[in-house]
Assembly symmetry: C2
């Protein structure tokens, strides 16, 4: 059962169907257009409301904006079967875990938070595809109550989608993701906002080239989704932003003081790190 | 004649040869490996030293790091034929123009500064290709001494490479490029540097995904080239960085104060501007 069969949830459904390791996929959504599109596209087999679907589900995947999770868990709880395992695909984990422990109580044992590091600019079931998670990393953040069979089940689910599963604590996840996902989105958006707000924005944007294109691509993402991510991971974000600001000021000072050596060293360290990452990550 | 037949200069040579609108291309480089590779790849027809090449050239394209321009002009001046037109491909223009006016004196009429907005991560003649400038913008920054035939000649040269030529003042060029090219490189490098310097850099980089890839791609560029660009365009850069820092702080404050509306509005403005740019620029 997938709550929110859009890009993220729909791609999981498509991948599991393609791998032949799922019986029936029930789709649930606030928006009837989402479930009907997912049904037409063959991502899901059936549409149901949250309660009806919960009463039949072996696995529940919450693939909604992260701030909807708490309310969904509250609605699911009274109808949750003892054998059902719940997981999510939210971009932050400490807040989701805290909500789950509070809302589900003893049943929190049945909830294992997760986060697939994959996405695309487009949203919705039309954008979903079975290969989205191929060779991508999925982070699971098990808590002490999760049993080994539950970890195995969710690990196997993601591996069937072609993903590589990593385990870490929710706090580590949030710090690491603040750094390599949320801060880049923040910086890219701040920059895009500043350019678009300039009096001569038209000329600037006319001249912008491929470097600008790559650097700003993520800023086109959903404002609603990213506002929620920023707020959900507020503390880790603020801490990382402080580090980034220090680095910014150090580099700015080197430029102000025409410090050629410092400028070169900073640029060279960044360039070497990026080239090494490019050759190792397989994402080039 | 191309001084520096690497990615930028070699691609011009390749495009002009492909368009059939150039007789003989002479390549000049400090580094013998560059000219011999360019010769092997058919980008240039002949290798010569700067003086010999200058004595035969109708058009001289300086495609070297921007800080080498002044010294090259000093070496070229005594041997410059009256009909020869010099242009360059440097990323900053006010400093190049000032150098040219000072070094060339009356002969500065023969120099028309230019900047093709195109590039790639790889450098050197091996990376050159005739299509590099296809549908890309080339900015020319003519000064009052340039005659109409000189403007036409250099405009035609770039149009033969498939580029779209824009004219603006050197000061406008530098401000606009600081904004849409130099600042993104600065931010991308600052961020990459900060991540690579973190105690847990390994985990961070392991988890980094496609958003990180796009956002940091430009930071892999040559530290030497970008240090020189930053220093050559120092004042415009510092002025833009001040604007970016204000935008950064405004967004950071919104996050600190959990100001959902301000966060949403900033992200939405950035997202809309980026989506509009994507659909208009043809660079998606």
């Amino acid at each position: 059962m997938v709550v929110g069969p859009g890009l993220i949830g729909g791609s999981v459904a498509a991948a599991l169907k393609q791998a032949g390791c799922v019986g029936k996929v029930i789709g649930v959504s606030r928006q009837a257009t989402t479930t009907s599109a997912a049904l037409d596209l063959g991502l899901i087999d059936e549409v149901a409301d949250l309660v009806t679907a919960t009463q039949q589900a072996d696995v529940i995947l919450l693939a909604t904006p992260v701030r909807a999770t708490r309310s969904l868990l509250e609605q699911i709880k009274p109808h949750l079967l003892p054998h059902t395992v719940i997981t999510d695909a939210g971009s932050t984990k400490a807040d989701v875990l805290a909500d789950a422990l509070e809302v589900l109580g003893d049943q929190a044992v049945q909830f294992l938070p997760g986060h697939p590091i994959a996405g695309a600019e487009k949203a919705g079931p039309e954008a979903a595809f079975a290969e989205l998670y191929r060779d991508r990393i999925v982070i699971l953040t098990p808590h002490k109550n999760n049993t080994a069979p539950i970890r195995q089940l969710i690990t196997q689910m993601w591996e069937a989608c072609g993903a590589r599963v990593m385990l870490m604590s929710a706090a580590d996840h949030d710090r690491v993701l603040a750094s390599v996902s949320h801060v880049p989105h923040f910086l890219s958006s701040v920059f895009m906002w500043q350019v678009a707000s300039a009096p001569d924005a038209d000329v600037r944007l006319h001249v912008a080239g491929s470097g600008f294109r790559d650097f700003t691509r993520i800023s086109a993402g959903s404002a609603e989704v990213w506002r929620d991510i920023f707020l959900s991971n507020r503390e880790a974000m603020l801490s990382e932003l402080q580090q980034v600001r220090q680095a910014f000021e150090q580099a700015e000072t080197a430029l102000l003081e025409t410090d050629e050596t410092a400028l070169y060293e900073f640029l060279e360290k960044a360039a070497l790190a990026r080239r090494l990452w490019g050759s190792r990550s397989g994402l080039e």
